[in-house]
Amino acid sequence: MSQVEPAVETQEASTFSLIDCDVHNYPNSIEELMPYLSARWQAYVRQSGFSGPGGPTYPKGFAQAARRDAWPPSGLKPGGDPDFAREQLLDEWGIDLAILNPLYGMTALHNLDFANALMRAVNEWTADTWLGSDTRWRGSIVVNANDPKNAAAEIKRVSADRRFVQVLLLVRSSAPYGKRQFRPIFAAACEAGLPVGLHFGGSGNPITACGWPSYYIEDHTAMSQAFEAQLVSIVCEGVFCEFPELRLALIEGGFAWLPGLMWRLDKNYRGLHSEVPWLKKLPSEYILEHCCATTQPMEEPKNPQHLMQIIEMIGRDEFLLFATDYPHWDFDSPDRALPPVIAGDLRQKIVVDNAVAFYGF
């Protein structure tokens, strides 16, 4: 990264009309990352023929899990052409700020040093290729969660560039993130003044607690289980006690499950609190004080009023952040995803104000 960090150019938050908290950018191939790898790792890639981590164990409904119209005319991949993404997303929908979450699955690699080299490469590539292409993009710092010490060092290094607005973790990890081995990541995020975003996907463990399902429909639907497990772990293992300033965004995991989880956890806390004597209040209070969740994939009950009931049960109008998930096939349209029952102040909070407050835009 350059020595002089680029300034963050932004308009006044009061003029914003839409913030998109989950957009995906991808290198079109390993070639795009090569300039950011050392000679040693370039040679390794060439010799091994490595083309990128993992492959889809669940073929998605659409190629690259992308909207069919998100394939750029340039021949690049969906999420691989910043100019096209600018036109198709930012300009078309009048988005004032959009957070890029590169889903580069380096945690699937067992070679920690190689995974760390790719981690650094992806962050530099995001800064150069995307953040430099339009002032409306914001970045997430990708980290190799399997190596928390080096992940923390990367957060420290990259966070000097304030266009990066969060640290990105994938929800399916090798162990629940509340475990003490992950503390360096949370510590570094707090030190840098950045929230942590916990995003759909990952590679550590099966998506369900009872093993691998067969179909993508199961993978996609059951991902909320992983979010629940992470949230319970992070609360019970005292992460929010140790880092009172920590903010956590739950990205693409849904939110209708939250009231039930909070009820369950609070109920158990009444009988089992002596197991976790570092907690000073009800688990739900930690969740509501420290967390937000993105809206996409939007919960779509038959009766839209039920959505309002869920939001009421969550109990905080500041909890939800709008997201499209562009360029993915399950994109939420800014003008249709939120049903008309979400109106007035609440709508304004979800599409702008909550993100401004949470990310400090």
Partner: protein, 121 residues
């Protein structure tokens, strides 16, 4: 109005550390003796109605930092409900979590002439 004492029994009838149910004034009560001190609560858990007299006396794990040594404090002053484990402060009847909302009635007791007397208004 002067308080009247309801006789719960002889002091020796309550073994130190025991949790015992007695009926008095038409109510079920749970009596816990700790040395010379007697605690009396209504014998019904405010959660789902278990008899607290089937519960266990313990202490309170003191708040500590993560990974710090968890210490048992106030040993003998906490009664654990036999069903879902809510813990009640024997002195006040309050649950250790949300004690304002979740409490069981506690009664003052005095000892006179070797008898345990419950103070009822």
């Amino acid at each position: 109005m002067a308080s009247r004492g309801v006789d719960l029994g002889a002091v020796e009838a309550f073994a130190d550390g025991d949790v015992q149910r007695v009926e008095a004034g038409g109510r079920g009560l749970v009596v816990v003796r700790r040395g010379d001190v007697f605690y009396v609560l209504r014998d019904i858990c405010p959660h789902q109605g278990a008899r607290l007299s089937d519960g266990q006396v313990t202490g309170q794990v003191a708040e500590c930092s993560l990974g710090g040594e968890a210490v048992l404090a106030r040993d003998g002053e906490i009664l654990v409900c036999p069903w879902h484990g809510w813990q009640f402060d024997l002195c006040t009847g309050r649950s250790l979590v949300d004690g304002e909302k979740n409490r069981v009635r506690s009664y003052p007791v005095r000892i006179a002439a070797g008898r345990v007397l419950l103070e009822l208004d």
